[in-house]
Symmetry: C2
């Protein structure tokens, strides 16, 4: 491995981290390297810096492309493929969440919907279905929230995250201002309706 020490530390860490996610070491290292690199790199650059085989790099890049995590670029007068990560780190977050949702949540939701259609044949199955219903509803709530905030531009998203639960305060304030005093319908019920 042929890298400035500071870069190497990070690359090695991401390689290890990769295993905790479903991703292998080399893929993690390639990604870390591209993320830190100012210039796009070609496959041979990566081979030299990481000290792994050319074919391994080829497969790793293919996987990263399948995840939409790297962009393929070309330099004029050079027919090699160059790879880079988006400059905007928020774009990376969005892609990551999107792809993980596609691979993990969506298939699970499909399965849950299927199983929830079936008629339970016993008390045990009935209870199992109830649990699956809970999970289904939870995922629906979370993906709904995600679909919603995902549409925000980054500036507003950051604003929202910065506020955190302070939003709560503002909601309470809104209530005090706008709920007709003595009205039966509180905001809490509002939230449950939807």
């Amino acid at each position: 491995m042929n890298l400035p020490p500071l870069v190497q530390t990070f690359v090695l860490h991401f390689g290890e981290m990769g295993s905790r996610w479903g991703i292998n070491r080399t893929v993690g290292q390639i990604y870390a390297l591209l993320f830190l690199s100012k210039e796009p790199l070609n496959a041979e650059d990566i081979v030299e810096r990481l000290g792994v085989s050319r074919s391994n790099v080829s497969m790793g890049l293919k996987e990263l492309q399948a995840w939409n995590l790297v962009r393929l670029q070309h330099k004029p007068g050079d027919r090699r493929d160059y790879f880079a990560t988006p400059d905007d780190i928020w774009q990376i977050v969005r892609t990551l969440v999107e792809e993980r949702k596609k691979r993990e949540i969506d298939p699970t939701m499909t399965l849950l919907r299927e199983v929830l259609m079936q008629e339970p044949a016993s008390a045990e199955e009935r209870h199992a279905q109830e649990r699956m219903r809970e999970m289904h509803d939870l995922f629906e709530l979370l993906t709904g929230w995600y679909a919603d905030v995902q549409r925000l531009d980054t500036e507003r998203l950051v604003q929202l995250l910065t506020l955190g639960s302070k939003v709560q305060k503002i909601l309470e304030m809104k209530d005090r201002l706008f709920v007709v005093p003595g009205s039966k319908k509180s905001r809490r019920d509002d939230a449950k309706d939807r």
Copy 2:
């Protein structure tokens, strides 16, 4: 594998899903089984239903306990250990996020802080550090948000998630109401400050 069909479908799916996370098939299956079960199960129950070895179940349960994902229980007059997942699915989500943060985000933050302290020895290292700074700040924002909403009780959390980006509307309304007209300091700046 000795399970009602409906349960089996789910258990198998979670087994496969486990690999996408850093978790192995058996651990995923054990967890799915406990999640769906009305009654707590002991190790031998799990062996029978999943058709895996006793030692494998022992190791799987140990791992799930390390993740705080199962509770150990006892029945009067029975000295075997019984295992169950929390009834409250939101508790499960909280534990999962907490544990993943502990295992993935926290060590990465430590590493980033260390590397960001060092003096860059080249333009390449300087750029790499800038990128790491971006990642560091991103994680800080996200974990800050998390620490904040994590404190909310479930009802309020659900309320917040249900609103999604509609919170935005309320924020805008708040602005219109409370920003002194003609003031130099907009809400946007506010958000950036912290």
